[in-house]
Symmetry: C4
Subunit: 292 residues, 4 copies
Amino acid sequence: MEKTNRHNWKSKLHEIIYEADTPAGKLFDILLLIFILLSIVLVMLESVNNIDKKYHDILYFGEWFVTILFSIEYILRIISVKKPFKYIFSFFGIIDFLSTIPLYFTFLFGGTPALVTLRALRLLRVFRILKLARYLGASNQLKDSIIASRVKIFVFLFAVMVSSIIFGTIMYLVEGEENGFTNIPKSVYWCIVTLTTVGFGDIAPNTALGQFITTIIMILGYGIIAVPTGIVSAEYAKNANKDTEKKGDEELEDADLVEVHTNSQCCINCLAEKHQDGAEFCHKCGCKLHHD
Amino acid sequence: MEKTNRHNWKSKLHEIIYEADTPAGKLFDILLLIFILLSIVLVMLESVNNIDKKYHDILYFGEWFVTILFSIEYILRIISVKKPFKYIFSFFGIIDFLSTIPLYFTFLFGGTPALVTLRALRLLRVFRILKLARYLGASNQLKDSIIASRVKIFVFLFAVMVSSIIFGTIMYLVEGEENGFTNIPKSVYWCIVTLTTVGFGDIAPNTALGQFITTIIMILGYGIIAVPTGIVSAEYAKNANKDTEKKGDEELEDADLVEVHTNSQCCINCLAEKHQDGAEFCHKCGCKLHHD
Amino acid sequence: MEKTNRHNWKSKLHEIIYEADTPAGKLFDILLLIFILLSIVLVMLESVNNIDKKYHDILYFGEWFVTILFSIEYILRIISVKKPFKYIFSFFGIIDFLSTIPLYFTFLFGGTPALVTLRALRLLRVFRILKLARYLGASNQLKDSIIASRVKIFVFLFAVMVSSIIFGTIMYLVEGEENGFTNIPKSVYWCIVTLTTVGFGDIAPNTALGQFITTIIMILGYGIIAVPTGIVSAEYAKNANKDTEKKGDEELEDADLVEVHTNSQCCINCLAEKHQDGAEFCHKCGCKLHHD
Amino acid sequence: MEKTNRHNWKSKLHEIIYEADTPAGKLFDILLLIFILLSIVLVMLESVNNIDKKYHDILYFGEWFVTILFSIEYILRIISVKKPFKYIFSFFGIIDFLSTIPLYFTFLFGGTPALVTLRALRLLRVFRILKLARYLGASNQLKDSIIASRVKIFVFLFAVMVSSIIFGTIMYLVEGEENGFTNIPKSVYWCIVTLTTVGFGDIAPNTALGQFITTIIMILGYGIIAVPTGIVSAEYAKNANKDTEKKGDEELEDADLVEVHTNSQCCINCLAEKHQDGAEFCHKCGCKLHHD
């Protein structure tokens, strides 16, 4: 082997931090998920005035603890890839940086609400861990269903939009500003609230004609709700039939769990993902994937 | 060819404005869609008091810009058909006229709210562009599902109507005017709000008996919501099965996209639509469709 | 023929009023439906204060007109059956009487709100006309689906009830009277409002713990809503499959319309219904059905 | 037979109280269900101030009546098992004790609201009677559907949670404390209220940007509602297909009712359940199940 120990050490680190195929990689991802969730809980609790007053010191310590952990993780991520700038300027690289920096910035220059806002970006980091969901197979099926019916979903959303704008404008003209329909965008917002059967009630029709039109909108919404359900149900049923035909007597439930076509490997050089099972070289840059 | 150049020019214009089979025709439809959506945004923003005060001049200019464009389009539409009056007095001809005229009328005679109302009619023009949706195939399947289950949908709507009236009257008698159920139509409106699970909360039962009856209405609505979903799902599943049986191993998703039986051709003489693919003469008036 | 003309005349009348198989019978049912709906509109409009003040005379005249028509219909119904008391004390006989008498009673002895209430009973008469729905076939399929899944629906409703009571009690204890959860029945009512995703908002949780429990209830409700939909969808799909297997290449949509196993014949003697097609004698009392 | 009469008597009692296979056992379970429901009604009515004032004596007597009955049942339950402590410290044993004791405690030492709370625990006892539901078969199918799609349901719930937290934080930042979004947990709660289409309206967006984001959340929720429905529908359809294949021409509806694989036998020694049909000895402790 011509690789140095140092390289091997880097490669191991890369495997642990970026991938989730090894036990250590899985453990890292689970620990990261826990700390991200913990940091989310901290951000949430700090926003509650009573709790922040009582436990301000504990929350502040927790915040520093999580920030330092994330800083170490950020540095390790930079060290363990061959081209650090590729990571630093990637989507998750920027998220990682922005969600770690606010506390240091506040410590040095004093805090502003806008900085607190940045900390909420940590939530986006959860998506990185969602790679784990790939193992579940179920999300693949869900994605397939959505992709297969993308045209239907687009037509459906367009129909919802057009009917919301038309009914929203009509309601603005019928009800007018004195009944809360102060402008057309607000009226369209109300119309979507009604069509989706959410019905907050912050705005509600007061005139008899307005209530009659609302009745039509609601029954329309009642019918429209059937469309996405019908689409997804049909897709699920189709997939279920395909599975039954393919596998015959095999157990379906277990099949759902192992139906994984992509692994979590991630190139140490260019951070490319979605390598084939058993691939030895990156399909993007040709760099070796495993250095044993 | 005995046709004059002028006639050929008219025919090309007709093809661009009324049809969407050629690249130029598609481009025209997409541009028209953008300008209609832009004009809708203008109508919306003008209804917002704050924005209208600040950017009144820009909105006013944009309104004139869109109006002049629509005027040119209207004149070109009249020129490019053989029988202009057929277009002028068609549904979309009237919509086109009414949605263009308000600004000129306001400029000449001063504006009234009723005129602003007419501008909202532009929204109906979006449906003209919806011809594009035919290419998507998906809307055909949706239409087929609705047509196939029209009897079930009618019975369902009748059942909703009857139960709303009966429960609405009962609630009017039980709750009375002091609890917001001021008259039976309002009570029926509330009943539909509840049955469809919208639940604005502008009116809500206050008496114990009223709340008990509401519970029954809600659980009924919960069950009723299953009916349209069941109908549409079954139709979708049926269609999916038919497709699978017909096409066998072919790719289903692409099939959804090319499943188009009507093109966007529109007769230059009588504006009739839905010609067969490859048709050379109008099926209504016998006029030649393409003049190359 | 030994039957007298008078008898023949009675038999014809019976056919028109009670049955819907002949053109005259259908016309009678449709006219009756129109007048019932008209009388419902009158009851509704009278409950609206403004309209009642303005058009009181027209509404009063309309009410007398409809009442007299219904009185004639009631007398004809009594005349045309062999055993009038069987009709008078049948469910619809009592409804017909109670929904006709209030105006006479008010005229003679002065009106009370309770009498106005009786007029609302006319709504129940709509169900008599619903016999027409039998022709649609669709309602049969709906009924079959409901009957076939009655056990599942019962288990589902029991689960909804138990979870509503448990969560309702918990919310009563957590939120308490100061937040609108004044007693357990009201709290259970709120819980059903939430589970069915109606969400009026007349009562809403204020404490953090209450809002957390509400979150669980809502997600549970979100999952529960899938159950009746799934049941009905599966039943519809099952029926659709059965139809396809039976009929093969025949047109399905028309099949839905003719799938009628019961006619609207009604015995002149005992008012029994659901006779077989082509039956000559009543299956209950043996009386001849048609007297030509 | 070497068993004493006393033992036989105990065994009979055990069969009646703990099992539901014999007529006496079924009757006991049904009576217990009625008394539990009666006691729930009592707890409910006592919480209504007006009713408690008027009928306090009747409610108090009813409460004592039910409490004494439950005490007798509790003692009989202890007597009829071989290892009483196993029952006493089992989940239902503790529930039975805690839901019976409050009235005695109140009588002896004076009542506190916390004691009233304990009485609500009786509701949990209903689940014991739900063993009856096993006979219905339908709940088995429901359970199977849920178990078969547990992975999908977990992925779905995780997606709902993540999107609620992200959108909740965004809405907190956009709307702020002055519009009711006082802290992030409350904002997340509001987000789930909106996603599930409950829409209480106690909190509602006021800013234009907030209303725009709400529109996205609602349409997302509209799409998400399709997912659990699709999953359950597909599972039901799958089960329905399996049944049709297995049973062929047999009647499906009856099959749903008899599809019971577990009986309600319960070991007199260790209280283990889910014995095979026709089993003579407990599968856990080897104790004889029936002593005839």
